[in-house]
Amino acid sequence: MKALIKKEFSLCLHPTAFVFLAFAALVFVPNYPYEVIFFFSGLSVFFIVMTARENGDVAFTCTLPVKKSTVPLARILVAAVFQCALLALTAICIVIKEATFPEAMRVNLAGNSANLAFCGFGALLLGAFNLTFFPLHYREPKKVGVPFVISSAVQFLLIAILVAVRHLQFYTPIALPDPTYFGIKLAVLLGGLGLYCAMTVLAGFLSMKRFERVDV
């Protein structure tokens, strides 16, 4: 698995994977739907998978001494590394914002404020992307566009729901900047991270199973 992951980094990675990590800084933009940061993460996965397809990577990797089923797993792990890095960078940016911006500027009128709970929602969006994109792609690895459109549609649906509920009364504590209602936000963060892990593991399991039957 170590060799597979190193191969992913040396032969398959697309530069946008690093560029889109910088989009974590969008949390500094006032009144902005910050959830789109996590859409860009999906876009970087799309570019990686597209690059791999154009390079004939899947067929080549299957000739190497690895179990065929581990081929999707390596790519999902690499995607997870970038997703975790994005979550960590977003959290760092939020901490900096909270330490430097006045409270009035930290309230987001366009959606959720950048706070602890927002990172939980981000994890949920990334997990939803993984669960839709990877199993669909590894059912037929030549197809990248359709799985991306479907997974992005799921992400935007979730983003729309998260932005819409921000205006509901019961939701207000979660939408406010930290440190108010810290306990609730922490629970949302942990819930989001838990769901991310569960959905990513399930995505890996389904992708491996489907890829076994694929003719490369």
Binding site: K6, N55, G56, C62, T63, P65, D215
Partner: protein, 280 residues
């Protein structure tokens, strides 16, 4: 007792318009086997099925190890070349080789450098800068540098010039002396005449012949006949009309000359086609 390097049993793959039909054969350790057959006969499908690149039924054992039970370990024993190297066009040869080397505990950088030198491969070049022949040479260099005990080669000589093909055949014979087993598909039967010990002849997804080259070459003779009825009376196989009369394969001692692999293939296919036609 000779060890079987490769055992294939009941390999089956069904496509809408083609079926690889219960292909079974074995290749003994240290032997070179040639896989021949017309386009679409199932040569690449067979090799891909052996490598589990395509999902198919049947069992494959490499040096007694079941492929499906220990896929990673079995693949370590195999050097696979599926035609030219058509992967990672924008990467340099050294970057690809470095990534590949990590997968093989027995990767020998010295051997790889030797092959690169022999094949005139410049490692700082990008894959897309290589000609088709050089791409095949790069594939071969990768496949030969990790101590593979079994080489599976899908038309490895198709893009090579005659001198490179000669070098390739010499390399195979050297590897054979080292105990390496080779199964390779090709349309260039003269290469097989030079190096092969065994011929596997695939036709319409089924093994039509599986014999030592020597036996095969001795069995079939090509004879010319003035008329079709004369050929029929002699029991000729796959009789075809040519500019000098009718030619067919004869299995009995006759005046005809020893048939080449090309001629055996052509006349057996012709006979098969004729039989299929009359059956319908």
């Amino acid at each position: 007792m000779t060890l079987r390097a490769l055992e294939v049993e009941n390999l089956k793959k069904v496509y809408p318009n083609f079926t690889l039909d219960s292909v079974s054969f074995a290749v003994e350790e240290g032997k070179i086997a040639g896989l021949i057959g017309r386009n679409g006969a199932g040569k690449s499908t067979t090799l891909k099925s052996i490598m589990r690149l395509i999902s198919s039924e049947g069992t494959v054992k490499v040096f007694g190890k079941d492929f499906s039970e220990d896929e990673g370990a079995v693949k370590e024993l195999i050097g696979y070349v599926g035609g030219g190297f058509r992967f990672y066009p924008n990467k340099t040869l050294s970057a690809v080789a470095k990534a590949v080397a990590r997968f093989y505990p027995h990767w020998d950088e010295r051997v790889f450098q030797c092959y690169c030198k022999d094949f005139a491969l410049v490692l700082s070049k990008k894959v897309r800068e290589l000609s088709d022949g050089m791409k095949i040479k790069f594939s071969l260099a990768l496949a030969l540098s990790h101590g593979a005990k079994l080489l599976l080669l899908d038309e490895p000589t198709s893009g090579l010039d005659p001198l490179s093909r000669e070098d390739f055949c010499d390399t195979l014979l050297t590897l054979k002396k080292q105990g390496v087993t080779v199964l390779f598909s090709t349309h260039i039967t003269s290469d097989l005449m030079r190096v092969a010990d065994q011929i596997l002849y695939l036709s319409d997804g089924a093994i039509l012949l599986d014999e030592p080259l020597e036996t095969l070459a001795k069995r079939y003779r090509l004879q010319l006949f003035a008329t079709l009825s004369e050929a029929g009376a002699a029991g000729a196989i796959g009789v075809k009309e040519g500019k000098d009369g009718f030619a067919g394969l004869i299995t009995e001692p006759s005046e005809g000359r020893e048939a080449t692999l090309d001629e055996i293939m052509i006349h057996l296919e012709w006979e098969r086609g004729r039989q299929n036609e009359s059956a319908h």
